[in-house]
């Protein structure tokens, strides 16, 4: 059913991506807006404060919001240009249905809803409830995330709900739960200010979280030493005190060696280890052979540099360790995270001023979204869907019978695999573009083509939605009230600046309407987003992610409240663990052994080069939004293959020569960018693009056994120069590649 109804070129001509630019002198009324709406950027986990200028129900520009404490007006290029997603020619203005040979044609809401509901019912009657799955995403607000979780379990009655946070920070989440019993960055970023040593591991902060740079630079102005762990010399690494250019896939070996060095040289906080942690000895035993020499051999980093880093870390009085996807997107992502946490716990520098540890959550609401709803194994308040007490509590809040509450379902990539195997027949997706963002995109495409029915809620026709039977025109972030939770754990207010244009509807109203038509109207009636939030507060009460004390009013008055906030009078918790009461069953922080093992795929004769992937500053994730904003596209018009001059020489590759990169899963052709800022044994391709320009044609679907995160960051590839220089970047049409 879900092959494309017409050619991809035809779909692109109608629905984009098209590049949108502001008119030459700005949108009409930019200088005299009706209203400046204080809200937050729709992109990354920093959730920078911004004021949107609104004129005649259109977002026409922005004005920096100087008072918001995290960013004080500062923004990245995506934030500056985010207003151009409103007012966009590609915007879906009505529901669409797929017509064979014609493409996507507008239809009425009634027809679209009838079709959707009848197909859900047909598939579930024929194949069982779990044969209809749902994929969601964490660009959604807390309210929508919560609603999706409830909708899938109560209205769709399926266990197979998961979300794109699975490609984001689940490894960190799993690691944090193991070590601390709670999944949140332990500190807010103001604790960076007086940290003496900062480790940034696998986080290209200056491109993916540019506004966080301010806090790191602030620390450096106070004399902080910066250690950056990354296979590439990223902008942050250029000026770092130590750059550990780790070979992709060997991070845990580095942490192991550093831990052993700390122990061997007694740079440990024994008091903290003895009184507040468990598992130290087993953890140390697991790294007893991880000498500096061994680590140099495995990681490719000079042992002197590792030693220097360990010395700095070991002797510091205050410190902050930050990590992100660079260490999490691995088949041993959880091990890498645990390796980092072990370094933090060994020195006892947590739960004190300027002593911090945090994963930098990638997606806009990556933090809040992963606490309340759409994770396959989880219930609101970060509760466990397999835990009988948790099930009972949530069933009561939702007014259902506990035995009707589905159990743990498949994770995102496993859902795609189940579709491919023919076990799952139907899919509802919102806020997720798996065809671009999941690994092994050719396999994902095959899976989509096997679906009997696919309905997608989105504001643009993203690449995955081209395979849909019905597309429901949903809403942008600025078109609904709500809250999100930033990477710091700060719950903040997203404000409705404008209403959805044309016949488009808010995501919430669409979900509520489907629920109503599925016969559960009584459980899905809310008068406002705030009413959903109030139910979420109750649902989260007593869970680890406790929002009960947070209200819209408080969030507005206090410019955000940090959870946990269990009671109305509670001030919120910007810094965790000051009381040393960890949320693990024994109340202690847990060391976890993280012995080094090989990545899912290693280089060999056929595929002799390490390939790693990542992002560029002007694009956001699968590019559904940012590949439609002209200036952001022009900043990085196409994905380039970053390659070291020595390797380029070995293969006879010239600057901007086209190179065919192939792996066991697929191949793509990319212009070479020969730079000394990458390891000699590694090449890099950013992943935001679609079709033939997608790096994810190449990446493997190997999953971490615990977090089920795919291994985007390392695989083996083969390079073949094509003896042809690529046309200038400015002529590239990669943003709309088929």
């Amino acid at each position: 059913m879900a092959k494309l109804p017409v050619s991809e070129e035809n779909i692109i001509a109608h629905f984009g991506p098209h590049k949108n630019y502001s008119p030459k002198e700005g949108y009409e009324g930019r200088d005299e807006p009706d209203e400046l709406v204080k809200t937050h950027c729709c992109f990354c986990g920093m959730q920078c404060g911004i004021q949107l200028s609104v004129k005649d129900n259109k977002v026409v520009g922005f004005e920096p919001w100087m008072e918001f404490p995290f960013n004080e007006g500062r923004l990245c290029p995506k934030g500056v240009q985010r207003y151009l997603q409103n007012n966009h020619p590609d915007r879906l203005l009505s529901p669409l249905k797929r017509v064979e040979g014609q493409g996507f044609v507008p239809t009425s809401w009634d027809e679209a809803m009838d079709k959707t509901v009848s197909e859900i019912k047909r598939i579930q009657e024929k194949y069982g409830n779990d044969a209809f799955s749902m994929l969601s995403g964490v660009s959604l607000t807390n309210e929508k995330s919560y609603l999706v979780g409830k909708f899938a379990r109560v209205a769709l009655k399926t266990k197979n709900l998961d979300y794109n946070g699975r490609l984001c920070m689940v490894s960190a989440g799993a690691g944090n739960k193991k070590a601390f019993g709670l999944d949140r960055g332990s500190n807010n970023y103001s604790d960076l200010e007086y940290a003496e040593v900062i480790i940034v591991a696998g986080a290209n902060v200056s491109e993916t979280f540019p506004t966080l740079t301010h806090w790191i630079w602030k620390a450096r102005d106070r004399g902080a030493k910066l250690i950056v762990i990354d296979p590439r010399m990223i902008p942050l690494a250029r000026t770092a005190d130590i750059h550990l250019d780790v070979r992709p896939g060997t991070d845990s070996a580095l942490y192991g060696a550093m831990l052993k060095y700390l122990a061997d040289h007694d740079m440990l906080d024994h008091d903290f280890i003895d009184n507040h942690t468990s598992g130290f000895q087993e953890t140390l035993d697991a790294v007893k052979d991880n000498t500096l020499e061994w680590a140099e051999e495995v990681t490719g980093i000079k042992k002197e540099k590792i030693q220097q880093a360990a010395e700095l870390w070991g002797k510091a009085n205050t410190s902050f360790l930050l990590h992100a996807r660079g260490i999490e997107h691995h088949s041993k992502g959880v091990d890498n995270v645990l390796g980092c946490i072990n370094l933090v716990l060994a020195t006892g520098r947590i739960g004190k001023p300027y002593c911090g540890y945090a994963t930098i959550t990638g997606q806009g609401n990556g933090q809040g979204g992963r606490e309340h709803g759409h994770k396959c194994d989880q219930l609101p308040g970060n509760r466990d869907i397999e835990n009988p007490e948790h099930r009972k509590y949530i069933s009561e809040v939702w007014g259902i019978n506990e035995k009707d509450l589905p159990g743990k379902g498949l994770s995102a990539y496993e859902i795609i695999e189940a579709i491919h195997r023919g076990e799952i027949k139907g899919l509802l997706s919102i806020c997720f573009n798996p065809l671009v963002s999941l690994p092994n995109s050719n396999y994902v495409r095959e899976a989509l083509e096997k679906l009997e029915f696919y309905v997608c809620i989105d504001f643009f026709l993203n690449e995955t939605a081209r395979h849909a039977d019905i597309v429901l025109a949903g809403s942008l972030q600025e078109e609904e009230e709500g809250t999100t939770t930033s990477a710091e754990g700060r719950v903040i207010r997203i404000r409705q600046a404008v209403t959805p244009p044309g016949d488009a509807r808010t995501d919430t109203s669409i979900i509520l309407e489907i629920a109503k038509r599925l016969g559960v109207k009584d459980k899905f009636t809310y008068e406002s987003s705030e009413a959903i939030f109030n139910e979420l507060r109750v649902a989260s009460k007593g869970g680890t992610a406790d929002y009960y004390g947070i209200t819209y009013q408080r969030v507005e008055d206090e410019m955000g409240v940090f959870w946990p906030c269990p009671t109305i009078g509670h001030p919120g918790t910007p810094r965790l663990w000051e009381d040393r009461k960890f949320k693990t069953p024994d109340g202690k922080a847990h060391f976890n052994p993280a012995p080094y093992r090989l990545p899912g795929e290693v280089t060999d004769e056929d595929y002799p080069v390490i390939l790693t992937t990542g992002r560029v500053v002007s694009q956001y994730l699968s590019g559904t939004q940012t590949r439609r904003i002209g200036k952001l596209v022009d900043q990085f018009p196409e994905p380039l293959l970053e390659i070291h001059p020595n390797m380029a020489k070995q293969y006879g590759i010239q600057q901007r020569e086209l190179v065919r990169v192939s792996t066991r899963r697929g191949e793509g052709i990319f212009p070479a960018n020969i730079v000394e800022t990458i390891r000699e044994d590694t090449v890099f391709i950013p992943y935001h693009w679609s079709g033939k320009k997608s790096a994810n044609q190449l990446t493997p679907g190997t999953l971490d056994p615990i977090s089920k995160i795919p291994e985007f960051k390392v695989c083996a590839c083969h390079l073949e120069p094509l003896n042809e220089i690529a046309p200038p970047s400015s002529e590239s049409k990669a943003y709309a590649s088929v």
Partner: protein, 349 residues
């Protein structure tokens, strides 16, 4: 800037040319027999404006950067393939001076409004200045009561019937000009009063007054026509004085204010010629980026011009900072900064 306030050379040239102009008026009006005494104030205004323009123009030409462009432009026109050079200059004049095509990309309406003002002003000048100078005048054709003859410099150039379209167009030509100027100026006035970027940077005397003046001239001029055609000469004298005042203000304002750009604009063609001529002699390559960025001629001339102006960007090794492209200069500055920061021991703090 290093502009002197008094300039003997310019004074001399301006005086001589103004005297020459008066001589032309004398002979062009056949020893004043075709001169319209009612226009005497306009004559003084025009001659004064002429003096001012020549003076200002001469001062301007003497500035080293301007002089280089002027010199190179003239040299180009009179050497080598003279015919093809004149053809290029003519083409450029039509495109840039007559049609102001470079404004179009800045904004369609901006171009249209400017074009209206330009056409209006040019046609008004072409009519009024020769009239004022007594260079053109109209007489009845001999043996006719309905055929008019137009004379230029005392020579007959054409004739037309009084009831012809030609007559209607000719006698109302100033009115058509006025309408064009009014509409164009109103567009710009609106833009200047609403565009926040312009509001922030404009001045009253530099930007708004000229538009108001243009509108005032046109409205009072139209008023004269309507006064005698439809209102039996109501307030004609008052309007005539008002019109004269606005026109004379306009004329003497030309050398000092915004309207000087009308005189100055042909320099743009000089710049185009300069670029074309320079390209023949080869491009300058930036030692930092390794890419071509402008003509060698341009950089060589700039080295001379900047020295004349008192700037010396020569390095110890004899090379110049001006050898670098803009991107190269920025990069070198950043590299020097990095080096200084590293020498200071810390990139931050």
């Amino acid at each position: 800037m290093k502009n002197r306030t008094f300039n003997t050379k310019a004074l001399l040239i301006a005086t001589l040319l103004s005297i020459f102009m008066i001589v032309l008026v004398f002979y062009g009006s056949r020893k004043l027999q075709n001169f319209d005494a009612a226009l005497i104030t306009y004559l003084f205004g025009t001659v004064f404006a002429f003096f001012g323009i020549v003076y200002r123009y001469t001062v301007w030409l003497q500035r080293p950067p301007t002089w280089i462009y002027f010199k190179r432009g003239i040299t180009y026109l009179v050497t080598g393939k003279v015919f093809s050079h004149f053809w290029f200059a003519t083409k450029e004049t039509v495109e840039n001076i007559a049609f102001q095509k470079f404004i179009y990309p800045r904004g369609k309406y901006r171009w249209m409004a400017h074009f209206m003002i330009a056409i209006g002003c040019t046609s008004a000048f072409l009519i009024t200045i020769p009239l004022t100078f007594g260079w053109i005048h109209f007489t009845m054709a001999p043996n006719s009561i309905s055929v008019y003859e137009a004379h230029f410099f005392g020579f007959k150039v054409m004739d037309f019937r009084l009831d012809s379209i030609m007559a209607f167009l000719t006698f109302h030509a100033l009115n058509w000009s006025s309408y064009l100027v009014i509409f164009g100026s109103l567009y710009y006035l609106r833009r200047r009063l609403t565009n926040p970027g312009l509001i922030a940077t404009q001045t009253f005397e530099g930007d708004l007054l000229p538009l108001i003046l243009l509108i005032a001239i046109s409205v009072t001029g139209l008023g004269l026509t309507y006064s005698y055609q439809f209102m039996k000469g109501f307030a004609f004298d008052f309007l005539a004085v008002l019109h004269a005042v606005t026109v004379i203000m306009f004329l003497i304002w030309i050398p000092f204010g915004k309207f000087f750009h009308i005189i100055q604009r042909p320099a743009q063609i000089g710049a185009h010629i300069y670029k074309k001529q320079g390209m023949k002699k080869g491009m300058a390559v930036c030692p930092h980026t390794g890419e071509e960025f402008t003509t060698k001629l341009h950089i060589d001339d700039l080295k001379i011009v900047t020295k004349e102006l008192g700037f010396d960007f020569t390095y110890e090794d004899g090379t110049s900072h001006l050898d670098l492209s803009p991107e190269g200069k920025r990069s070198r500055l950043a590299q020097a900064h990095l080096k200084a920061r590293q020498a200071g021991g810390n990139l931050f703090g």
